[in-house]
């Protein structure tokens, strides 16, 4: 029997419209699953049951009146990095463990206006700094495919919640791979849009030239539905781009014959688990069958992505996180003797080890005497990498490769060695540095764990990416798999 949580957003939307079930019934169904299954997964920091049921009742009225938008009544989770008016917004940190946001992020506001129901706030790596969801002040999130494994990070609460079908979709953010890597490790469709496509207003900043909001969903179609509502110009974000939002859903079924796919040579050469690579190649064969043409391309500067990122991102983070001073909001230490003591101890106590490591890295690379050697140099290499991508997109429509070097790893396996942890993002960081849209879609299983195929496109090519992802999902069933115990 098909249960409500087996359905995609698009299918749930159709069911709501056909009055097969109500929004309140949907909310109750998923809230019950959260109550029963979340304790083992730790995917939520906050569950907003009461608020959700009230919003669902309102959505039902709209649906009855026939005036409801396409997304009305659909339940989702928001990553706890998005400010939600009147609701605890922690960013996975002790620093904000008591912070009740006084306004909604634009992403949250736009989805609520469409009648989307927030069921809760998803756990995450502290300030989105991590690739395993182990840096959260609220404890690690477990991967529903194997509770001993990480769900990826930093959007690990979002990925675990959708993979376990505690919600049919969730928002996430991606600074170096934080949507795509968790999507790959939990068998989901993850989309990081072009930098500037979705407003960053009310999204707690980590690295402002890299951060971008996106979606974790069951299908590419669901991603298209959400992105259509989330994307668009926002005067409140000075880097928001004022360019029209295409109808991502309408573009999904374009045929893929003649599509030129670039295979990222460097991705298949560096650090890739062999069996993982085989599954990616099998996925490429599916595209060939659909009439796509595979062309190997080389981006010679791409192997410098990770070191570039670990200068640029910490530099921006050290600036952004200087706002946490214990004065206006956030954690303040007990009995400070003077202002300096208050700053130092509030920040020392409020931030976890990885956040402090990145703030210090950033402080160092921006400090007098080191700025040119590290920060300026990294910004130059960033341009070389971006130019490599631009050259590749003169020859091909999209680039493909693995999302992650291997499937989900054991909780605790990489926490003691930051470099090993950072190398999880070896394939995802390039798209952030160049501001490109990129996706991860499920393309098979290794030892019972999902594997992701990454698709990268030129700036503002989200419609093409979603079309390419949807074409694969029409041919395969990997994205419809549900972990045992959660079906």
């Amino acid at each position: 029997m098909t249960e409500l949580h087996h359905l995609t957003l698009a299918e749930l939307a159709a069911g709501l419209r056909a009055r097969e079930f109500s929004s309140v019934e949907l909310a109750r169904h998923f809230l019950a699953r959260i109550e029963r299954m979340n304790p083992a997964l730790n995917a939520f920091v906050t569950v907003t049951a009461e608020q959700a049921l009230a919003a669902a009742a309102k959505a039902d009225e709209l649906l009855a009146s026939g005036e409801a938008g396409e997304l009305a009544g659909l339940p989702i989770a928001h990553k706890d990095i998005f400010c939600t008016d009147g609701v605890l917004t922690t960013c996975g940190s002790r620093m904000l463990s008591n912070f009740v946001a006084p306004y909604d992020a634009t992403v949250v506001e736009r989805l609520s206006q469409e009648g989307v129901i927030m069921l809760g706030k998803a756990n995450m790596d502290e300030f989105a700094m991590g690739s395993s969801n182990e840096t959260s002040w609220f404890g690690p999130v477990k991967n529903p495919w194997d509770l001993n494994k990480v769900p990826g990070g930093s959007s690990g609460g979002s990925s675990a919640a959708v993979a376990a079908r505690l919600v049919p979709a969730a928002t996430g953010t991606d600074t170096g791979g934080s949507i795509r890597q968790p999507a790959a490790l939990t068998g989901l469709t993850g989309l990081k849009p072009t930098y500037g496509r979705v407003s960053r207003y009310g999204m707690i900043a980590f690295a402002s030239s890299l951060d971008q909001a996106g979606t974790l969903t069951i299908t590419a179609k669901d991603s298209a539905l959400l992105l259509r509502a989330m994307a668009g110009f926002d005067p409140k974000d000075s880097t928001s781009v004022d360019t029209p939002v295409p109808d991502y859903v309408a573009a999904l079924d374009q045929p893929l014959a003649g599509l030129k796919i670039g295979l990222l040579k460097e991705f298949f050469e560096t650090g890739l688990d062999e069996a993982n690579g085989k599954l990616v190649r099998d996925a490429l064969a599916v595209y060939e069958r659909l009439g796509a043409k595979l062309i190997e391309v080389s981006l010679p500067n791409l192997p410098l992505s990770v070191p570039t990122y670990y200068v640029v991102a910490p530099a921006e983070c050290s600036s952004n996180l200087s706002r946490f001073d214990g004065v206006r909001f956030g954690h303040r230490c007990e009995n400070p003797v003077d202002l300096l003591d208050m700053y130092k101890r509030s920040r020392g106590e409020g931030f976890g080890a990885e956040v402090k490591r990145r703030i210090m890295t950033g402080t160092y690379v921006l400090s007098a005497g080191y700025y040119d050697a590290y920060y300026l140099r990294a910004q130059k290499v960033r341009r070389l990498i971006t130019d490599d991508f631009a050259r590749a997109f003169k020859e091909v429509d999209v680039l493909m490769g693995p999302t992650s070097p291997s499937p989900a790893f054991d909780i605790g396996a990489k926490v003691d060695d930051p470099i090993t942890m950072y190398l999880n993002d070896i394939y995802t960081i390039g798209a952030n540095l160049a501001g490109l849209p990129a996706m991860s879609i499920p393309c098979g299983f290794l030892g019972g764990l999902p594997v992701g195929l990454q698709i990268i496109g030129p700036h503002f090519a989200e419609a093409k990416l979603l079309n390419v992802a949807h074409g694969y999902q029409r041919e395969t069933e990997w994205h419809r798999q549900i972990p045992r115990g959660y079906a």
């Binding site: 009740v100 930098y195 140099r377 960033r382």
Partner: protein, 96 residues
């Protein structure tokens, strides 16, 4: 690049972070490793390259008229403050 305990203490001070004696050697080790790791960047030929601060080349930072665009919500915002009094944020004494 290998950092000393003193280097890391100096960085922590600049970053306004208190670091315990137990944490210090961990940061000396990991920050040194990170700086060594990013030294790979020295291999790139960047002499003639313009540094890139923003991923979209043709975007310019917008300006807006300097007008009030938000309503006053002091009370709401101050609900998150550790200490307030009479609408003011309280901090340890700064001027003697």
């Amino acid at each position: 690049m290998s950092l000393t305990r003193k280097d890391v203490e100096g960085i922590a001070h600049l970053a306004r972070l208190s670091i315990t004696d137990a944490e210090l050697p961990v940061y000396v080790d990991s920050l040194s490793k990170i700086l060594t790791f990013v030294e790979q960047l020295n291999a790139a030929a960047v002499d003639a390259v313009e540094p890139m601060a923003h991923p979209l080349a043709d975007q310019v930072q917008r300006l807006r008229p300097d007008e009030v665009s938000d309503v006053e919500q002091r009370e709401k915002y101050q609900r998150n403050a550790p200490r307030v009094e009479a609408g003011l944020y309280l901090v340890p004494k700064v001027i003697e």
